[in-house]
Symmetry: C2
Amino acid sequence: MDRQSSAALSEPSAASSDVADGRLDNFTRKLLSHSLLSTDDQRAILTLPFSLRLLGPNEYILREGEQARVCPLLLSGFAYRHKLVADGGRQIVALKIPGDPLDFQSLYLRRVDHNLQALTAVELAVVPLAALEKMAMERPAFARAVITDILVEASIGREWLVNIGRRNATARLAHFLCELVYRLNQTASPPADESDVPLTQEQLADLLGLTPVHINRTLKRLEEAGAVRRKGRRLKVADFAMLCRIADFSDLYLHRGNVG
Amino acid sequence: MDRQSSAALSEPSAASSDVADGRLDNFTRKLLSHSLLSTDDQRAILTLPFSLRLLGPNEYILREGEQARVCPLLLSGFAYRHKLVADGGRQIVALKIPGDPLDFQSLYLRRVDHNLQALTAVELAVVPLAALEKMAMERPAFARAVITDILVEASIGREWLVNIGRRNATARLAHFLCELVYRLNQTASPPADESDVPLTQEQLADLLGLTPVHINRTLKRLEEAGAVRRKGRRLKVADFAMLCRIADFSDLYLHRGNVG
DNA sequence: CGTGCGGTTGATGTAAATCAACCCATGTGG
DNA sequence: CCACATGGGTTGATTTACATCAACCGCACG
């Protein structure tokens, strides 16, 4: 229930180019996880103009109904999209991790159809839409990468539908954790154990269509099975392979190495 | 449980141009529902080369894991995307209506991440990817429309997540019916009553994350309330306004008149 | 004219929600 | 430095929405 006050994003005051210091590495790597970019293209991306924004946990980045005129990239921290429903419930419909672009959509749609909120403290690179449009115009591979990124997010959304619609609480939670570990390890290789999960139990509930209480009990059972570990409020993935088995996880939908 | 045999789509044998007879009107109108296209662009779209395919109910159009080399457009009939889960359950993740493009995704992603199946008998216009790519290259407004279409489908997917994750059976069913009525009436005006719903109760169940039995009982209650009408196996929307109220429906996510 | 799919209905089971305490770590102000 | 407030988290008792199981029905169609 802690919907915090907003810090609406405006056009970057003076297009301060923190360009040179490689803050966009993250973003480039994300695009490379599913798209092919020449080293020239990659260098060009690193020169995109942006202004840096720091937001605290729970601050809003976009609100439903707004018209966005900039595109934030998530340099560090986590964020999520969510929608509210009449009776006060909310559903998280996407989780964004460091390197993810947060709003390519506003290049094409006038109105934002969901809320975008910081999960942890975040650093954003706020890029003017015009700069992105220009780069997409001049560099077809970049344009392709943008669309591919949109499509991969849509694919993840479809898998979430399956997850919420058809899997029980245990498999559902396990599946989400598998996806998170995969995504946090941008490399194509099966990822290491001990990934940290930065969500509270309430947030997990809002993401998985369950209640916090039930998340708690389900986590407990996963811990007893040895699949996760918890110390205090910190949640870690302990046995990735076991989680994959519980969730019947397949990573096809993430479209890793789409380019071969 | 009636997963029927496939009629996998291949490259159109001889690019038979049924061009002139306006079969792509549907498709153009769909794009116009969210995008701006000059009359010149519209004319050009109507000249896209395609070959006509007729499929019966339940025939597969695409299968998970395949590599598609053509893009089918749905001229008439209904189709749906779905994914299967380990225990035999399935989740429908998108419903496609006449005029909808069925696989822009394969322009950018190598592997199909879901199954695409005919719901009713369908007519498909199968367009070679190369022709679409060429047109997107030459006509930026068309390229924009393609991406916008992708984004609107993704937006609908997010709303489905909210629907399945957070609404009870009654509101969930009502919400889906509202969406269907809206989409079937491509005009921006609030649509008329008495729309026909072409899904069986089992399909509704697979789409809404419920069981057929529960769909049956929920439909019964909606009928008693006067929101829908049923004669035999035919289901109709009787009171659209009431359904909207039950579902707390807002059409923002459909991005109608995005250009208006 | 039978056969089967889709629909309908009732009885029963159960996963998850709800309600309600209480706990603990952390942070904050007196 | 303690008093207290606060936001997670944990746990048990109870309720409930939906699933499951099992018949049976009736139209459509081959």
